[in-house]
């Protein structure tokens, strides 16, 4: 048996030897690779003899740019030499690769179909070769194809006494099969309302064909057809419609109403016309406004058949309201609307003291209704003698010495009467105010004692 030290030495020697062999192998491999790369580069550089000529011809075909590359290198094998063409477009580069044939030719098709100039670079040879040819290919748009898309702008034009508002225009992009805008002018034919025909040229400049079209003096429709060479398209239309509302008759159907909201006001606008006296188109906006201290109302409704009818809730307080109709710059004469009390007769309140005296905040909670003061009013009847509806809103406000509202209660009528047990109220309440149908009345609080002391 070998001594331990010797065995270790032997193992170490073997490991070191192995590492050395691996390192040597790697070194040899790397050297070979480098040498080969160098040889390739050198061969490539050397592969093109002096006088080598690379000719590139580009042709715009419908499916792309075709590059014909011809390499003439005397007494030199060029079959299989890689050829590469790269074109630059605003959408990014496009590239195509191929190889030379035995006679030094290659044909590459790059899928670039956009009209205009396209710079290209053709490279012949592999890594390290320096034969590159730069150039610019040019493609002109082809013939226009159907369907020709014509857009009118605007599609609707108002006619006014001052002429139409916005001249009609026609936008055309006649394009070829690849979507390139054709530079040739298009022809527009316009059928006017009176049956006359108008024909005009639509020149195409900087990818846009645009022309103004004739204006109509009155409402009607222009029908437009466009052709570019043999290509046609769908018909476009421009509608000449009445101008904005400039007049109308404002009348009140129901101009007086009670504040209870049960019966609303009703107004009607008729004969809405533009400044030329033409009945306006359906859907034109008409605005009703009420302005004033009592109410601020703004309401827009569409005109239909030259008129519209509007139902409005009666204002919350008694009195007159001034209503106007507005459209664009037109403002109508005012129409007076009135809000009246919903019941007949004065508002009189009765406050009765409970047997145990008025309720005070410091008192113990009362046990029953009989121990509270009662506030009563009524009967409330309308002009037909009918009680106001059950639940008709009544507000009872407790006021302090400076008329400040300390607390308020929403209560309702029942059987045409107000009968309300006054709950304990905060200290300092001086009066109770009852508000009903726009009317108010007050009673002092607490009620004066009826019995003598």
């Amino acid at each position: 048996m070998k001594p331990v030290r010797k065995r270790l030495c032997g193992r170490r020697r073997r490991v070191l030897g192995g590492l050395a062999i691996v390192a040597a192998a790697l070194f040899v491999l790397a050297a070979a690779l480098l040498a080969r790369r160098g040889a390739t580069d050198e061969a490539a550089r050397a592969s093109w003899p002096a006088g080598t000529n690379v000719a590139v011809a580009s042709l715009a075909e419908p499916h792309g740019l075709v590059f014909s590359v011809t390499v003439s290198a005397a007494s030199h094998a060029i079959e299989g030499v890689p050829v590469r063409v790269v074109v630059t477009t605003p959408a990014g580069p496009l590239a195509e690769e191929g190889t030379l044939s035995a006679d030094g030719r290659a044909r590459l098709v790059v899928p670039s179909v956009r009209a205009g100039v396209t710079p290209y670079r053709v490279t012949v040879g592999g890594v390290g070769e320096a034969i590159a040819v730069d150039g610019v290919a040019e493609r002109r748009p082809g013939d226009p194809v159907e369907p020709l898309v014509a857009a009118v702008a605007p599609k609707t034009i108002r006619v006014t006494n001052r002429g139409s508002r916005g001249a009609p225009g026609l936008i055309v992009h006649p394009v070829d099969a690849n979507g390139n805008v054709v530079d040739a002018a298009a022809m527009a034919t316009v059928a006017l309302s009176d049956g006359a025909l108008w024909t005009g040229e639509v020149p195409v400049r900087e990818l846009v064909g645009f022309s103004f079209l004739p204006e109509l003096d009155d409402i009607g429709t222009e029908r437009i057809a466009v052709r570019a060479d043999e290509a046609g398209g769908e018909r476009a239309e421009i509608a000449f419609v009445p101008g904005l509302p400039a007049s109308g008759t404002l009348t009140g159907v129901v101009t007086v109403g009670p504040v209870d909201g049960r019966d609303p006001w009703e107004v009607r606008v008729t004969d809405v016309r533009d400044d030329g006296g033409r009945r306006v188109s359906d859907g034109e906006a008409w605005t009703i406004t009420i302005e004033g201290a009592r109410e601020n109302l703004f309401l827009t409704r569409p005109v239909l058949g030259g008129s519209l009818q509007v139902v409005l809730p009666v204002g919350p307080t008694l009195g007159s309201y001034e209503l106007r109709g507005r459209a664009d710059v037109y403002v109508s004469q005012p129409l007076e609307l009135r809000a009246e009390p919903p019941f007949v007769g004065p508002l009189q309140l009765r406050l009765t003291e409970p047997a145990s005296g008025p309720a005070l905040p410091d008192d113990e909670p009362v046990a029953g209704e009989a121990e509270r003061a009662r506030l009563e009013a009524g009967p409330f009847v309308d002009e037909l003698g009918a009680f106001l509806d059950d639940g008709f809103p009544v507000v009872v406000a407790a006021l302090d010495a400076i008329d400040g509202e300390v607390v308020r209660f929403d209560v309702g009528l029942r059987d045409g009467h107000l009968a309300w047990s006054v709950p304990p109220l905060p200290r300092g309440v001086q009066e109770l105010e009852v508000r009903i149908g726009g009317m108010t009345a007050r009673v002092p609080w607490p009620p004066a004692p009826e019995r003598g002391e």
Binding site: T88, P90, G92, P93, R114, G116, V117, R121, F210
Partner: protein, 541 residues
């Protein structure tokens, strides 16, 4: 013959084996597919990340777009609408840039339609097919509107802008092109977004071109110059800590040495103080009858397409100064060939090609790239070839001859020799430096090449490249302001002859150190042996 009967247990065992084999195969296939899917997901995520990063990098140019003042009609194109259109138009380019890096074209429909959508889809499909991402950049858009529809939904304009693109190629940038194009564009408004519908390139020129007619550099063959690094604030510190008095004195020294040209460095991005102090430096040079060679983009080595807008502005800002009559020629990058490996040859050639073209266009001065070994492609885009040489003077004629074959005037832009006596294993002394200078100047004169020595002063303070101590001892003037013999050589004085004592003297520091090291080594060995023997005696009793 009776067949041995198999037990039930064995049959079950066989059945299990038979079932296990296809199951194992299925599991293996599923595992492989899962790994493949995971790899694909990771790859896609990486591509998307690269795309977003690229869009982020390229989008930081505040002056990317501008409108012409003309109102095209028939509808008035107001400022707000112009901003809206421009915003969507630039986003369209950003979307293409993202798609060409990431291969993800899902967002193209947001900004393109019709024929333009077909174009970008084709490009992105080809990028996906090739598997190689494409970096694109666009900047300096100048939009001249020609039509704005009455309904406000169609706009046409001509956009003249600069662009660059390159295909990633194993760390390099293949097929790169930097150019300027005029693009007619029609955009339409749909769903609140302006989309590119039609476009046509009406003009496209490469900015990076060979200089078929290089500008003359009068008298460059007789140029006698020196590289200037300020003693108190070397390299990058020059501009922020510019000391006009020091520059005045230094340039006086240069003039006193009979030199006619000073080369100095301008970092990129432009440092603080450059705009204020560069005119001063030019004035000082002019006062002393010196011409200058500014060397741009010092300290920059990214060569990223994304930096081109900033490069454009840098050159625009420097243009008036570079057009100064004192500028003999402009070196756009110092020792660019040292960056070939890191940045990639194609990337560097494209980037510096752009810089050369734009510097020449803006300054009017001849342009060059500083190199150790001149690059033929960059040389073709330059007006003169610059060579740096720090090796054996004997190798200089061959290097100059190689450079001359590139068809441009040659200048020896840098040569130098340090005087650090303690620099092992190659210590130098001042006499050697002088003789080196004499040999180099002889070779340059023989080749008919102008020269610039490196450098004026020794640099006792401040940062130097790589923190190498020899960089501090390359001057022809000592740190205390006294001249070394090499300075005399520049004035035409012959260098001191090399004596045997000189030759030995330069090795004296080395010998001293070697002797000291040997003494220490022998002493340590003896001490170790004594200690070891004592221990053995102790063990033996």
């Amino acid at each position: 013959m009776n067949r041995p009967r198999t037990s039930l247990a064995e049959r079950v065992k066989w059945l299990l084996w038979i079932a296990a084999i296809p199951l194992s195969l299925a599991l293996a296939v599923a595992a492989v597919m899962s790994i493949a899917r995971l790899y694909d997901d990771v790859r896609q995520a990486r591509d998307v990340d690269a795309g977003l990063t690229w869009v982020d990098r390229r989008g930081g140019d505040p002056e990317r777009i501008g409108w012409g003042d003309a109102d095209p009609g028939p509808r008035v194109l107001g400022r707000t609408t112009r901003e809206w259109i421009a915003d969507d138009y630039l986003r369209a380019f950003d979307e293409v840039a993202y798609a060409l890096v990431s291969g993800d074209g899902s967002g193209l429909r947001t900004y393109f339609q019709g024929a333009a959508l077909d174009d970008v889809s084709t490009s992105v499909a080809q990028r996906v097919g090739s598997g190689r991402s494409i970096e694109t950049l666009d900047w300096a858009h100048r939009m001249d509107p020609s039509f704005y529809a009455p309904d406000g939904a169609t706009v046409a304009f001509t956009d003249v802008h600069r662009y660059a693109w390159g295909r990633s190629d194993a760390g390099d940038l293949g097929d790169a092109r930097i150019g300027e194009r005029a693009l007619q564009v029609v955009m339409t408004l749909d769903d609140g977004t302006w989309r590119v519908r039609h476009w046509r390139v009406v003009e496209d020129r490469s900015i990076v071109t060979e200089r078929s007619e290089p500008r003359p550099v009068p008298g460059v063959e007789a140029m006698r110059g020196i590289n200037y690094v300020a003693r108190s604030a070397p390299f990058d510190a020059l501009w922020p800590a510019f000391d006009a008095t020091e520059v005045e004195a230094d340039f006086a020294t240069v003039a006193a040495l009979g030199l006619d040209t000073v080369r100095f460095f301008v970092p990129f991005p432009a440092p603080d103080g450059l705009a204020d102090h560069l005119p001063t430096l030019l004035d000082v040079a002019d006062r002393h009858g010196l011409q200058v060679v500014p060397t741009l983009f010092d300290g920059y080595s990214a060569y990223s397409l994304a930096d081109l807008p900033a490069v454009d502005r840098y050159l625009e800002d420097l243009a008036p100064l570079l057009a100064d009559p004192a500028v003999r020629f402009v070196d756009v990058k110092n020792e660019a060939d040292r960056d070939f490996d890191e940045a990639g040859v194609q990337r560097l050639r494209s980037f510096l090609g752009f810089v050369l073209s734009e510097t020449a266009r803006r300054s009017g001065a001849p342009v060059t790239v500083g190199t150790i070994e001149p690059d033929p492609v960059l040389a073709a885009r330059s007006d003169l070839v610059s060579v740096h040489h720090y090796g054996d003077p004997g190798g200089l004629p061959a290097r100059l001859a190689t450079a001359a074959r590139l068809g441009r005037p040659v200048v020896l832009e840098e040569f130098g020799f340090h005087t650090l006596p303690t620099s092992l294993p190659d210590p130098h002394d001042e006499g050697e430096q002088a003789r080196y200078y004499a040999a180099v100047l002889d070779a340059a004169e023989a080749a008919g090449v102008g020269w610039m020595a490196w450098t004026l002063h020794d640099l006792p303070e401040g940062d130097v490249p790589g923190d190498r101590s020899v960089e501090r001892h390359l001057g022809v003037v000592r740190a205390d302001g006294s001249s070394k013999p090499a300075a005399d050589v520049l004035t035409g004085v012959a260098p001191p002859p090399a004596t045997l004592r000189d030759r030995l003297a330069k090795w004296l520091p080395l010998l001293r150190r070697a002797g000291a090291a040997a003494v220490v080594l022998v002493g340590a060995t003896i001490a170790f042996a004594v200690v070891r023997r004592r221990r053995r005696w102790r063990r033996l009793g």
